[in-house]
Amino acid sequence: MRARTAGPPVLAVAAATLLAGCGGQTTLEPRSRPAQEISTLWWWMLVAATVVFLGALGMIGLAWLRRRHEGLPLLGNRKRLNLALVVFFGIAIPVAVNVALFVVSNFVVLKQTEAPAAASTRMTIQVIGHQWFWEVRYPGTSAVTANEIHIPARTRVNVVATTADVIHSFWVPQLNRKIDMIPGRRNRVLLYADRPGRYRGQCAEFCGTQHGHMALYVFADPPDRFRAWLANMAAPARAPSAAAERTGAQAFQADACASCHAIRGTSARGVVGPDLTHLATRTTLAALTIPNRRGDLAGWLVDPQHVKPGNRMPVLNLGRNDVKALVAYLESLR
């Protein structure tokens, strides 16, 4: 096996210094073997490209220095020689470099990033793109969530990527390449994380008004934590206990929330918006548009069109008390 940091060391160090502290959506801080291979390929291509670029700039510089002299330095102006230069740099060198690039990228690296065959991994999850959020299902369990995908760290996970409406593209750069979600197709991509952590992803194919607010997190958890999370996620919603929560639960059914959202264990079975059964366990709302905090949640309920204009959730003109009760109820959905 190749060493992990196979890229040119100087560049890698420079990049690490430059990019330290950046968020978790960069291709340059890979956290899995496939992303690592792509990143290494990039650094080598950058080295080759820099050599070509500087060589060409050198020729332009030399042309400027010798702007009053005909012909090549020392060799003079010979037709055959000029033609030989064009053939060497324009045909021989590109052919050699491109053959190498072709073999490395399409036979070595592609093997790592290619989709795993169906049922060849320990685990399969299903991610379904919607305008504009991600529905996440864990086949074999009743768990359904949205926008925040949990996977066990150091486990190969097969993601089946499909769409409920238009084309989206599922992309978590630190973990792997992107894969389009296309109507009528079931595409697959491997998700693997070297270590526990939170990795940001975003829709990469323009999908309409709120394409800009269609992000997701992948949480790679230690195996025990993942198992506990999944068990909780598969369970139906807990019944409201406090009075405010009960009022909120009634408001949820009465105020048309239930016609678009599902809360498993209740009569809410809507399929337009995300499943809210365990909403309180998520850290963000509206596909990472705002944090899942009391004030933000209330603001969202009051005017979702202000927070994420054009999204499918209408302004419901909820009363103050309704909002308060709904927040209490939703916050109880752990």
Binding site: M45, F53, N82, F89, I91, L110, F206, H213
Partner: protein
């Protein structure tokens, strides 16, 4: 004296024969390739300004995280219109319609295009299609699904408004103009070359435009098919792209990119042609490897048809397909590299005089290398799958389409400005405008590579703090303002010099090709004597030009018996026959108008009215051909 007098008389007679109506009406009914070229130029420059303002608005929205300048709907309409405008209404029509129209007949020693009235029709259809497309913005329903308009986002279910209908119908309409121009160019270059200009003596500029024209004729049909199928899905309820009805959304992507990738070469090849015109002039030497470069220009256009699926590596194509398209994408690097090193070797072995036009070409070479190198990276499938649809690809194609395609156009504007106006631009302002545009381009587009690698997807109307994207976006936006200043300076330089510039003769740069033989500005008949050519650099063959001058006195090859131009054989350019050319005509603009009404009523769904105007168009076409040009 009598002999000279005869020459003067001939010139006077030519002037009378080729004169067109004066005033505005003259511009509307013109069939003069130079006036049509100028109409194209002014129209495309207005559209360039529109596309530029759109770009500045987009950049200003992205100047900081969570900016609220533009609503997402406005942002999506603007970036779609920016792409559509720059590709279909600026780069291609200015290259082909303005530069090609104005220069090709001059370069091959002809008096006009093969089909002058069809040429006028191309322009009026182009203008009408531009107005049609921008009407969408005026009524607030501009196309908003990106310039490649993927289904099903653009299907009626997700885009019920007229936005996408403007896109489909506007592009079909626009495509008619491009097709007519391409056919016209092919025939003109095959049949209209001056005696002696055999294929191997045709200027490289013409080879590039021949390649472009051939590519256009074959690339536009798949686009038209794609657009018609989509319009049928939207308005008639067919299911070509609809999975539920047995269709497939990937069909759109294949059809679009079968057009879309040759399109990239259609955009860049005229730039190559301009570079190969400017470089010999300012390096005072012939192009190195002329036959290789001519071959490479044709090969690029040809191989460009075999690479389309490299736009679709993330769609989950089978591995065998991706590997094939990766290989062809790497192969096409070779003809591009041949041209690159031919330019560089010519610069190196010549005695380059770095005046404004050559500076823009050097800028083009630098940007073409950057855009070309990142392009090679996209042929590496796994890397493509990582950075496609991010700002890395935005950086890549702006280096190619702006840096490499538009810089030669700017250099070409400077280079041929004295030819068109008879006046010289300001060299110091020209140099300054170059450096501002060069710095602006680099500062706007280079950081996009970095922000793309940092994970920023394209076409997002805003972005959050904390992902390391803030500084690069700010720099890009400031760069775009600098670029705007540079471009405005080019415009101001040319506008002021048009009236105040020093008067120049017909050949201020000692250019190599025949356009420099014509007066500045050229007379409506271009050349008093049809030149006879014996090399690809006819203006550097002094003896040939002297011979032409003597022919005027003898009345040889003056063709002053009527509205005449010679036709020559396709390969060897031996004189074949003398063609009587049609004169100015009101029918082409009228036909464009009736066709425009067909498209308007297709848009509004008034099928019967549309058919009525289609009938009217046929009637106009009949009237146009009712009377063939007479013997003079």
């Amino acid at each position: 004296m009598a002999v000279i007098g005869t020459g003067a008389e001939r010139i006077e007679r030519l002037g009378r024969i080729w004169e067109e109506r004066p005033g505005v009406l003259g511009w509307i009914t013109t069939t003069d390739h130079k006036r049509i070229g100028l109409l194209y130029l002014f129209t495309t420059l207005v559209l360039f300004a529109a596309g530029g303002v759109e770009a500045l608005l987009l950049r200003t929205q992205l100047i900081k995280a969570n900016n609220g300048l533009l609503s997402p709907e406005a942002y999506n309409e603007l970036f779609t219109l920016h792409g559509v405008t720059m590709v279909f209404f600026f780069v291609i029509p200015i290259s082909i319609g303005a530069f090609g129209n104005y220069l090709l007949p001059l370069m091959i020693g002809a008096r006009d295009m093969a089909f002058p009235r069809m040429n006028a029709l191309s322009f009026w259809i182009f203008l009408a299609s531009g107005i049609f497309m921008y009407t969408s913005l005026a009524i607030g329903d501009a196309p908003d699904a990106g310039w490649f308009n993927y289904v099903p986002l653009s299907a009626a279910r997700f885009s019920p408004g007229p936005n996408i209908d403007f896109y489909c119908l506007g592009l079909i309409f626009n495509g008619i103009a491009s097709t007519l121009t391409a056919v016209n160019f092919i025939v003109t270059m095959f049949k209209g070359r001056a005696p002696g200009m055999s294929m191997n003596r045709m200027p490289l500029f013409c080879f590039a435009f021949l390649a472009v024209s051939l590519a256009l004729v074959f690339a536009l049909p798949p686009l038209n098919v794609a657009l018609i199928l989509l319009e049928l899905d939207r308005q008639v309820g067919t299911h070509f792209y609809d999975v539920a009805g047995g269709g497939d959304p990937l069909l759109w992507q294949h059809l679009f990119w079968i057009f879309g990738h040759p399109e990239v070469y259609i955009i860049i090849l005229p730039a190559f042609g301009i570079a190969t015109s400017i470089i010999p002039t300012f390096t005072h030497r012939r192009m190195v490897a002329f036959p290789l470069v001519a071959l490479a220009e044709i090969l690029v256009a040809l191989i460009g048809f075999g690479v389309w699926a490299h736009h679709m590596f993330a769609t989950g194509l089978p591995a065998a397909e991706t590997v094939y398209f990766s290989a062809v994408s790497l192969i096409i690097v070779v003809p591009s590299a041949i041209q690159l090193f031919a330019w560089l070797t010519t610069l190196l072995t010549g005695t380059p005089d770095f005046q404004t036009p050559l500076l823009f070409i050097v800028g083009f070479i630098v940007f073409f290398i950057i855009g070309g190198l990142s392009g090679v990276m996209f042929a590496a499938v796994p890397f493509d799958q990582q950075v496609t649809d991010t700002y890395f690809v935005v950086a890549h194609f702006h280096f190619v389409i702006f840096g490499a395609a538009v810089f030669p156009l700017l250099g070409g504007l400077y280079y041929w400005f004295p030819k068109v106006t008879g006046r010289m631009y300001s060299e110091p302002v020209g140099k300054l405008s170059f450096w501002l545009s060069f710095a602006g381009t680099a500062i706007t587009f280079f950081p996009m590579h970095i922000v793309g690698l940092l994970g920023m997807p394209r076409r997002v109307y805003t972005y959050p703090h904390g992902l390391g994207w803030d500084a690069t976006n700010l720099i890009e936006t400031l760069g775009s303002y600098l670029l705007a200043v540079g471009l405005l300076m080019v415009a101001a330089n040319l506008a002021v010099s048009r009236f105040r510039g020093k008067r120049v003769g017909r050949d201020p740069f000692d250019g190599a090709t025949l356009e420099w033989e014509a007066s500045s500005p050229p007379k409506p008949y271009n050349f008093p004597v049809i030149p006879t050519v014996s090399s690809p650099y006819p203006m550097w063959d002094r003896r040939d030009r002297k011979k032409d001058e003597r022919k005027l006195e003898r009345g040889e090859m003056v063709l002053d018996a009527g509205h005449e131009t010679p036709a020559t054989t396709v390969v060897d350019a031996e004189l074949d026959e003398i063609l009587e050319m049609p004169s100015d005509s009101p029918w082409p603009p009228l036909l464009a108008l009736t066709l425009a009404l067909v498209f308007v009523f297709l848009l509004t769904g008034h099928w019967v009215t549309a058919v009525v105007f289609a009938g009217a168009s046929a009637a106009v076409l009949g009237a146009w051909h009712w009377k063939e040009p007479e013997e003079a």
